[in-house]
Amino acid sequence: MQIIIFNSSKEPIYEQITNQIKSSILAGELKEGDVIPSMRKLAKDLHISVITTKRAYEELEKAGFIYSIVGKGSFVAEQNLEMIREKKLKVIEEQLSMVIANSREIGLSTEELQQLLNILSEE
């Protein structure tokens, strides 16, 4: 699991961790049931305090991305509908960004693009 901490970022370190683990799960790099490092090991590896990784894991648990079993460790949770939706939305956003980029290349305006989308949706 790759996590990069940006020390001079305004975003708190625990948030950087939660966001990066979330993205790995949503991108499918981390799959249901995968073991993630213990918060103490992660703290050591990232050279940050235990309470920071603890907070990150607590937030991830609350949001249903991971679960922990005492004495066994933390695992990627079964993904619920909301998460799958979020995952799909992310993919759609990426695809749309590509569409927009392609449209720009040939000078297609946003209005024309919307019309095209409407026509295709009605089919």
Binding site: R40, K41, K44, H47, I48, S49, R55
Partner: protein, 288 residues
């Protein structure tokens, strides 16, 4: 959460100096950094935790036990690193080990040799020939070799070069991977704490100002900068201490929400470092 160290209403008075009504808890499995200016009472507090000084009043419990009935058991479970050499200078590390090891039931020779190796310490040279950094490494090797659950250190990084300071922090983080271990250490070098501390206990003039998690400190305290005309008797209440200059004011708040509500976007709010907090709190004193 379990407390490894618990001070209740502890007071110790000396001529012209005292530590008063200290309520301090050190949480199991975490690193607590102990900060405060010179003479704030940090060493006195640590000596009381180590039973090297007896409090005048109040109660001290370590691992839930008190020193009157369980001194040996408590000491067995603590590794203590003191600023400066506490060993007889003429001795070498081998002799010191021979004296110290039998005092601990769980002394681990293999572990000790491992640290001696890792720290590149000579076994046969007198301690007095050691540099400051080597003396600290020797103290650490001895403190860490009996499987202590609680490591107490008084200014462990003072006088050490940045490379060894970082190595020491790595070593302490490795030590903390086992969740049953606890570290309590005093320091002036607050950047050490930014990296490994979970809780910060701040002592000022013999009184504990706060003992909070680093997240609480970061969420409550902030530096605020703005134009002087924003300040009046009411708006000033949001601040712990204010520095005024012809170019504007700079102030410390311990209530970021209140500042947001009072000033909105008319001021700049920045993260306050532990040094900022210590400095502004000190400034407040001089006005009293």
């Amino acid at each position: 959460m379990e407390n490894v160290v618990e001070l209740k209403n502890v007071t110790k008075k000396f001529k012209g100096f005292s530590v008063e009504n200290i309520d301090l808890q050190v949480k199991k499995g975490f690193v607590t950094g102990f900060i405060g200016a010179n003479g704030a009472g940090k060493s006195t507090t640590i000596k009381m935790i180590m039973n090297l000084l007896k409090p005048d009043t109040g109660e001290i419990k370590i691992f839930g036990l008190d020193y009157q009935t369980h001194e040996k058991e408590i000491k067995e479970r603590i590794g203590f690193v003191y600023d400066g050499n506490v060993f007889f200078e003429g001795l070498n590390l081998k002799d010191i080990k021979r004296i110290v090891a039998p005092a601990y039931k769980h002394w681990d020779d293999t572990l000790f040799e491992q640290f001696v190796d890792q720290f590149e310490l000579p076994l046969n040279k007198a301690i007095k020939t050691f540099s400051k950094g080597m003396q600290m490494k020797a103290s650490l090797a001895i403190a860490l070799s009996h499987h202590a659950e609680l490591i107490i250190m008084d200014e462990p990084t003072a006088g050490l070069d940045p490379i060894f300071r970082r190595e020491l922090l790595n070593l302490l983080q490795e030590f903390m991977v086992d969740g049953n271990r606890t570290i309590f250490f005093s320091t002036h070098i607050t950047t050490d704490l930014d990296r490994i501390a979970d809780y910060i206990a701040f002592l000022q003039r013999g009184e504990l100002v706060f003992n909070q998690s680093i997240h609480d400190v970061a969420e409550n305290y902030a530096l605020v900068k703005g134009r002087v005309e924003l300040l009046d008797r009411d708006t000033e209440k949001a601040f712990v201490h204010i520095h005024r200059a012809p170019t504007g004011f700079e102030a410390l708040t311990n209530n970021v929400n209140a500042v947001n509500n009072t000033f909105g976007n008319s001021v700049v709010i920045e993260r306050a470092s532990l040094e900022d907090i210590m400095y502004y709190m000190k400034g407040r004193e001089s006005y009293v």
